[in-house]
Symmetry: C2
Subunit: 193 residues, 2 copies
């Protein structure tokens, strides 16, 4: 993680990232693995119907509470009319795809930068299939969640197609959101007074 | 899904949802399971560094392409300074928690409504642990994604605590995003020309 805030114009930047800063972070974590522990957090409140709002501000990471955000980010979630809403915002299933798209793209940029690859553009299109009989409890054999998700990546960079294919295969194994979706991750839901 | 757009004031509404509409949807899907098939989609474009933007508009569901959104929803994703960004927006890991919070809350509201429970309030707090050595490829035994996620639910409603506990247990098994995270779901990442 970054240990500098001021960036000098002569810094060695690639793809909008500081190459030296990335390398320093890797070295720092090699010497103290506790710096790699992060806890992300969201607070959410029901507004009515299928509309709710999240606030996102603090997190723990690199051995300390982060204080860099003076105000929380706020995001609504809603549903389209066919799913009992009024398009107040994207729905939960779409926000999961947004998280996956962001993570695949950022993981690609980070590891391309570390490999010396300069990226010209990345566009992704994601599709996820779900059968609402799971949510509605109409068939116990139908899972409630996505059955599969496809990420089509259109990437242009100063390297060969074979290097890009290898990079994307590496990203599949190292993107945190891809890993969260493809592995079984325990979720505890508990009522608090 | 809804088959009506105009809502009459005498409709039987509970928790902001139309009870009759919910029941009709369940009956319609019982007679034609293809109505339950949905495909959600996101298009994302890299802006620079770890900043990218998603557009969310169309989807397939209830046997047809949805056309209810005249404009796409757009959401940025960014990272805090300690993770090489400038707090342009929440990060991918936080958007995944937002998706989970929204889904747990909406699934709770839907099934409470179907059970005749009137909800007064729902607030949730989510926390997810991740070890960035996975993302940074520093230890092959460390998964890149979340290790576990906890959802604390503060819910007030016109029923007993035991009924709320049973409802939340049901939600754990039927929330699409909880199901996507707790099961291994295949994600395909492929390069397109």
């Amino acid at each position: 993680m970054s240990t500098q805030t001021a960036r000098k114009p002569e810094d060695n930047r690639r793809n909008g990232l500081d190459v030296g800063e990335l390398a320093q972070t890797v070295e720092a974590i090699k010497h103290d693995k506790d710096l790699a522990r992060f806890e992300f957090r969201v607070r959410n409140r029901w507004i009515g119907g299928l509309v709710n709002r999240s606030e996102i501000q603090g997190f723990y990471g690199a051995g300390a509470e982060d204080r860099s955000r003076a105000e929380p980010f706020t995001y609504l979630s809603g549903e389209p009319p066919i799913l009992f809403g009024n398009n107040e915002a994207a729905g939960a299933g779409e926000f999961l795809l947004h998280a996956l798209a962001a993570c695949v793209t950022s993981t690609t940029v980070m590891h391309a930068t570390a490999r010396g690859i300069r990226i010209e553009s990345i566009s992704t299109e994601l599709r996820g299939d779900v059968d609402l009989r799971g949510l509605l409890n109409l068939d116990p054999s139908v899972p409630a969640g996505y059955r599969q998700i496809t990420v089509d990546v259109d990437i242009k960079a100063d390297c060969s197609d074979a290097e890009l294919d290898e990079l994307l295969q590496f990203v599949h194994g190292h993107s945190p959101i891809t890993s969260t979706i493809t592995r079984p991750v325990p979720v505890t839901i508990r009522r608090v007074a």
